[in-house]
Symmetry: C2
Subunit: 148 residues, 2 copies
Amino acid sequence: MTKIDRRTERLTDALRRAGVRITRQRAALLAVLARAEDHPEAVELHRRAEAQVPGISLSTVYRTLTALEAQGVIQRHQFAGTPARFEHTETAHHDHMIDVDTGEVVEFANDRIERLQAEIAAALGYDIVHHRLELYVRKKARPGTDQG
Amino acid sequence: MTKIDRRTERLTDALRRAGVRITRQRAALLAVLARAEDHPEAVELHRRAEAQVPGISLSTVYRTLTALEAQGVIQRHQFAGTPARFEHTETAHHDHMIDVDTGEVVEFANDRIERLQAEIAAALGYDIVHHRLELYVRKKARPGTDQG
DNA sequence: AGGCAAATGCAAACGATTTGCAACTGGATC
DNA sequence: GATCCAGTTGCAAATCGTTTGCATTTGCCT
Ligand SMILES: [Mn+2]
Ligand SMILES: [Mn+2]
Ligand SMILES: [Zn+2]
Ligand SMILES: [Zn+2]
């Protein structure tokens, strides 16, 4: 069983558990999500799913994404100035850097930051339900490189 | 000169510098912003400004907010699931905790987190342009307190 | 086959924000 | 103070991503 099969199964099971039917269009979207290594937006997922199910509608994509998110098997990221982007949650928690020039998304994880956040919240009498940490970045100018 | 006068002046000067006229409606909004100690959304700012200039339109509020943001004298925060919220930038950089139950916004600042962020970006070859750190939190259950 | 709830595609609604435009300033210039 | 003109206003309409209503289709169970 490949990594992508395992992911597809995880997504499929989550929907089954939620009592929703696995239709042709849903199966296609789940496969697309399982295969995705990037952070595509709904329209892009729709585009990719159309390869398998030509007539699939964007509403169906949105509806299924909402269901998957509710089950916690995918995450919706609302980065600044773009439509929401999606990714499966098979990988452990991480945060994101967004290259402001290219739009590229780079993942990172840092335990110290996670712990500090929890400490800060605790000190003020709160527990963290979830958080959002996004670094909007630009490639460091390497000496001798002129980026017009 | 009071703190609020100073803030109003800062906002006014920023607009003047940008070559825009200080009209009745803008003056009202600037005063509202200078006076605000919370993180109001556009509609709320509009509501407050109407006290001074009854006919002021929401478009004018939005247009002025956009101009002020472009000058860097106010900040626009896009918290999850709510319209944008605004605050003047007289105070130093800080991040936010949002109480998921009440919507209350609590500010905090932490140098260690700021430094860690810069280090993480640097290690991957990036400089941070700006960032977003939001903790969505819930009041810690105090022992002996039942929150239905 | 028959029945029924769930899912689909489409078009229309949504909510926050932006924009086009004609009417209206507010200053500067005479 | 009349004139001029670019900047500003309020309004309505447009925008964009996303959600929703609805008539039709589908998938499953009997
Ligand atoms: Mn990711
Ligand atoms: Mn703040
Ligand atoms: Zn994190
Ligand atoms: Zn910060």
